[in-house]
Symmetry: C2
Amino acid sequence: MLTERQLRILQVIVDDFIQTAQPIGSRAISNKQDVAYSAATIRNDMAELEQLGLIEKTHTSSGRIPSEKGYRFYVDHLLTPFHLSRQDTSAIKQTFSTNIRQMEEVVQQSAALLSELTNYTSIILGPELLETKLKHIQILTLSDFSAVMILVTDTGHVEHKSFRIPDGMDHAEMEKVVNILNDRLAGVPLMMVPGRLKSEVQELLKQHTVHFDTMFAYLRSFMETEQPLKLYFGGKTNILMQPDFQDLNKLRSLYTMIEEEGETIARLLKGEQNGLHVSIGTENKLSAMQDCSFVTASYTADGIHMGTVALLGPTRMEYSRVMSLMHVLTNKLTSAYQDWQK
Amino acid sequence: MLTERQLRILQVIVDDFIQTAQPIGSRAISNKQDVAYSAATIRNDMAELEQLGLIEKTHTSSGRIPSEKGYRFYVDHLLTPFHLSRQDTSAIKQTFSTNIRQMEEVVQQSAALLSELTNYTSIILGPELLETKLKHIQILTLSDFSAVMILVTDTGHVEHKSFRIPDGMDHAEMEKVVNILNDRLAGVPLMMVPGRLKSEVQELLKQHTVHFDTMFAYLRSFMETEQPLKLYFGGKTNILMQPDFQDLNKLRSLYTMIEEEGETIARLLKGEQNGLHVSIGTENKLSAMQDCSFVTASYTADGIHMGTVALLGPTRMEYSRVMSLMHVLTNKLTSAYQDWQK
DNA sequence: GATTAGCACTCGTTTATAGGGAGTGCTAAA
DNA sequence: TTTAGCACTCCCTATAAACGAGTGCTAATC
């Protein structure tokens, strides 16, 4: 069991390392204003903390740095409630002050804001489309040969895809198809659209158009593929600017992950529980993230999981401030979403 | 004036450095299969080439590497016509073999292809919207308070934006607005839309809707802002994997440029002349690019500049192959575009 | 006169060695 | 239980020496 003093020392070590990114020795700790013990005393406690695996040496005679386990302990037990600075709160307020015209915009701006305030990389999984319903389908002919299919959801999200008009299909026939689609699919939750397409629309289409085969293939490819998990990044470069990443290869693999593992990250965020969650170092499954900490926070609407805000920074992360910021931000996103729905 | 042999030596130096990224000495050159001169002879010529600023030493007694001027000379005078390998041509053929449904897709795939074949970073400025015409405008009400405006061009491009319905505006009135817009703006080239909006639509709207002020403001913001220069990247991480970039800070500034200078790059590409163009090292205006070479090639349709394909790599770039590839690619893009238009 | 062989010289790279300093672990005193 | 004192460890830097790749120059060769 850790003594009060040992807890305090661990806290100082983590706090200091978060700030300076340098190992800290017993003497330096002892010299701090609000520490009253001698270097020797602190050394003894440090030895014990090290034994417990909460702090580490970089070499035999160096100062100590927090271990992964140390960060974990810090996050779980030593986090002092942080109240945000005036600048932080006013920055957030300002971002959410403009009239909401489109949810995507708000999310994008939130990502930018979060990364700007923290200097880490923010990733937000956009409002999930699970609950959104199909509002309207439209086909617009562009030329004799090509047309574009447009799909609008009740959240104002628009998807579109061009396609080649099957030879010999005329305008009236196209209209018939669109009418069937709207009749059968409007108001249906997006996630159920592919199912409905098969169960209800397929047969109807077969009866009403001679170009059933091609059209149905188009529709399937359109509606089945186009349900991407939208990720919004903020400050992609931020994390690479951190002094923690001096190693060329780590830098490269981190960058590669951000650029190319969007899918994986999206799935990761999608699986996130409600509430704030911190993954430290090797607690992360993605190997490129194993020198980072990853903080996630979901936002909800009417208790339903809508999306997830995440922040990628070095393990040496300003946990306290970050978690407060994200707490506020997710609340703001929730209420923004509710406002938007009226 | 350079002798035949000096030209040959310069060529060998550049070719070798492009392959190995290592300085090369007189002995190594002399040992090459197709070089018949002794190391001493080559040394003499190298001294002269250095005097002319075409090659450099990294230190007093090192092998030589091409200077920027050397690359320039190489590109201008020593480039051997390159015929693409079977793999290259078939890869290109395959990318363009699928039926074209949407121009944007083709461009995106071209970018991916180019970066994959070269291991550099490709950037393509999408087909310019100058020539595209507005096909259709639609407003769809999502709820009593919100609606989404959708704009479709004759190329199948779709833009959309949500907005808040002015208090008290009913469906009939909205429809009137849309009718006016379609009546006056359909078929108008995108670049002229903002002008027409002012010259023709403004007055008409004023007469037909009591909510003129808000609606007109929406329209303006929508149509004036939404003419972005679309950039498609391929292999964003590729260039950072090049052994040429070992310096952490260079790496970071390069990355930052790619991530955040999209606007600048877009403008750069937009201003590009027709034909292939190579910028080497400090010939580039962007400081982050000054250790890179930047090859651009425009693609046209009916003689009109449509967009630009660009490739960002180290100055030590496989110029010959790259330029052949880009030549073929722009031709393919041009014909793809013409096919698409029918 | 052009080409080549030979050789001294330069400079980066590696290895070995020594001194300084920050920080620890342990022991003994307070 | 806390603290002062001290030997010890290991990183870091500086210095020196050996090595080697490559050059520049001179003199010999074709």
